[in-house]
Amino acid sequence: MSTVSTPRPRRTRRPTGGLARMEQRWGVLLALPVVLGFLVFTIGPMLASFVISLTDWTIGGEVNWVGLDNYRQMFGDDALFGTSLRVTLSYTLMAVPLTLAVGFGVAMLLNRDVRGRGLFRVLYYLPVLVPSVASAVLWTWVYNPEFGLLNQLLRGAGLPTSRWIYDADTALPSLAIMAAWGFGNAAVIFLAGLQGVPRHLYEAIEMDGGGPWARFRYVTLPMMTPTIFYNLVMGLIATFQVFNEAYVMTQGGPDNATLFYNFYLYRTAFTEGRLGYASALAWVLFVVMVAVTALVFRSARRWVYYETGDGR
């Protein structure tokens, strides 16, 4: 029997230009490392951690599927979960506004025509360049109740001293003050923002007879809201993940006063080896951070002013 081979219907493909095809191929190819890296090293482990969070995996022990038990335990039995969340939120509420306020104030000063402006800008930015572990060690000495710089100054001025990071009441504010020391980053961004404020607006205020306060209140502040917003979001994300200070300076103490969420998570995963529970903790932190960021973005409509947009 003879078979008649019928030609397979060929897909009709519109001819594509060589240049466009090459662009498309190279575009995909060049984007691939980033996309693959993101998928393999971020999304992949995230998915894995979610699956792990549904198990009771403790390193060295058996692994059992426990469903949502880890999440239930977190909200039911684990007092430290609440403590660490509270500590982290309090720290954020102290450190972020303080850093923004100091950064903004210094940026305003640096924006003026003072002599040695360049030098000041470098000086104020320097703390940002100090590795965070090194600055934590440095501040451990600054806060030393006996020989530390701060208590020496207070003693010299005849003022009462503090136990700083060694007292449950003052440990967290002490760390927030330390965070504000690294205001340089925010200040640089504020400075860039300040230089973008149109001169004519200040002139208009002057024409209307407004003083420095009016200039600040009605021109500088509204024009700076996008920069404030940016610094706020970045500050929030950074402080939610604070870790080094607890690890280097306080080990979460005294009396869990500086038990930051990330430090607790780290301890659960690596000191105690409870990967299942730690993964669940990580997911809750992720959700909290997304929620807080979303709230801030939502609130931005009310207070952030974009000159090119449709106003507030």
């Binding site: 493909r13 693959l36 992949g44 022990g61 030393n144 005294p254 009396d255 995963a269 000191t271």
Partner: protein
């Protein structure tokens, strides 16, 4: 001039046609994301078959001694070379957990007590008891040093450490204070300890704590270093000497709020805040450079702490002495503490690994015993006079050493609970911060301490999940 192609270039495939390609791409990327964690699980390099790896923590002196034992072991015929790796104690649990999770454990390693028990129960460890026929020395180990994770399997301690009263003899002589007794029968009562510490404490003007005008902020010399932290084996020994404990028999309830426990914890905190004969944790944070150096510099006259300090005391060059722990009730007790040394099942040469452990455990091969860091694990090194002398008849071991260390270890010792209580490390880490307010003096007075500890015990209860069989027949 070449005309620019208009937007929506017809040479681009129309959207409909791009569908399958994009979907395939997405599918591929999705697979890559899922494959990443799976692939990492499969990537387990083989254990080396031509050498043993040994991971441990400790000082550089400990490292030198470990390397020496390793070198001599490897020189013997048919023995493998040993790769030693010193890891800082602070990051040790992290490193170990990571290695175990990645299934890349070393052949031999120190392990914190609770981790050793968990790994043993989880089937990761070689059971040394299986090698008793091969190595007779294993039968010579003191029962206190063998911790059963179930009826059959056990982990062995790295060494033994017990608690004593260390002191600077010069400071006692200057103050005319009686020396701490070296025999358990003569052990100080708590009041005697406090009275002696009071005689050894004075401020920059030379005033004692009981004298008017004593300046607690400017103390020149403290009588005592209080064991005011959890988990301090010395504090635990004191608790047990008052018939108190931290956890109940079944390991399901925290009993740190019992009357007897409250009495001990209040008494220790009173050393700092009431009698003012011991520095507070805050003060210690500023000048604590190790017990030996603090005693040498005259900042502290005595301390309740472990054998390992002898290594530093011997190097510090001052006349030091030793006595037994004080007591609350009739019997003065000491507490045995030490991490474990584990051999992993994944090792290709478990027998040589166990043999190497036994070399490390042998005071005649490892100098750390006579150097003042470790006490031997084997009974004969306490009961056979020649063997006993081999590690403790040295220039650095002070008079009364046998009475203060050996006799209490054999007859008046309790076990630290971190082996027995499941997840003992985790439980301790929950209890530790709970006691901070007491040590810091924020909660003071017996009633307030009792109330506070009741709350702490309630919180710790939820982390208690039972016990291992642990030590048999001491």
């Amino acid at each position: 001039m070449v005309p620019l192609p208009p937007l929506g270039n017809p040479t681009h495939p129309p959207p409909g046609r791009a569908g399958p390609g994009r979907r395939a791409l997405l599918r591929g990327l999705g697979a890559a994301a899922l494959a990443a964690p799976l692939a990492s699980c499969g990537f387990v390099p083989a254990s080396r078959d031509d050498r043993l790896s040994f991971m441990f923590w400790g000082s550089t002196q400990e490292e030198a001694s470990v390397n020496e034992v390793s070198r001599r072991y490897s020189e013997r015929p048919d023995r493998l070379a040993i790769d030693t790796e010193l890891v800082s104690y602070n990051g040790y649990a992290t490193k170990m957990h990571t290695l175990v999770a990645a299934r890349q454990e070393p052949d031999i390693a120190y392990a914190p007590q609770d981790m050793a028990m968990r790994l043993g129960e989880g089937g990761y460890l070689v059971n040394f008891l299986d090698y008793r026929d091969r190595f007779e020395a294993l039968d010579d180990f003191l029962p206190q040093t063998i911790h059963y994770w179930d009826d059959e399997g056990a982990v062995f301690q790295t060494a033994i450490e017990t608690m004593v009263t260390w002191y600077n003899a010069d400071l006692f002589e200057t103050a005319g204070a009686p020396l701490p007794p070296t025999r358990t029968e003569d052990a100080w009562t708590w009041d005697e300890l406090v009275a002696t510490a009071e005689r050894l404490t004075f401020d920059v003007e030379g005033r004692r704590p009981s004298e008017r005008g004593f300046d607690a902020e400017r103390v020149e010399q403290y009588g005592l270093m209080a064991p005011a932290w959890w988990f301090s084996p010395a504090l635990y020994a004191l608790l047990r000497s008052n018939d108190a404990d931290a956890f109940d028999e079944d390991g399901t309830r925290c009993v740190i709020d019992s009357d007897a426990a409250v009495e001990v914890i209040s008494a220790v905190a009173d050393l700092i805040h009431e009698h003012r004969v011991a520095p507070s944790p805050t003060q210690l944070a500023t000048f604590n450079n190790g017990l030996a150096l603090m005693m040498r510099s005259g900042k502290i006259a005595m301390g309740l702490d472990g054998y390992w300090h002898l290594l530093d005391l011997a190097a510090a060059d001052f006349p030091y002495g030793v006595g037994v722990m004080p007591r609350f009730q009739d019997e003065a007790l000491t507490c045995v503490t030490s991490g474990a040394t584990c051999v992993f099942n994944r090792s290709l040469h478990p027998e040589q690994a166990v043999e190497f452990y036994l070399e490390m455990a042998d005071p005649e091969r490892c100098t750390l015993y006579a150097d003042g860091l470790w006490m031997p694990l084997r009974r004969s090194y306490y009961t056979d006079p020649r063997l006993l002398a081999s590690w403790c008849d040295t220039e650095i071991h002070p008079a009364g050493f046998v009475d203060s260390f050996v006799e209490p270890l054999l007859h008046h010792a309790v076990q630290e609970p971190v082996y027995r209580v499941r997840e003992g490390g985790l439980v301790n880490s929950r209890l530790t911060p709970g006691l901070d307010p007491i040590w810091l003096g924020e909660v003071r007075g017996r009633d307030a301490v009792a109330r506070h500890l009741r709350g702490v015990a309630d919180r710790v209860d939820s982390y208690l999940t039972g016990v291992y069989p642990d030590v048999r027949g001491t």
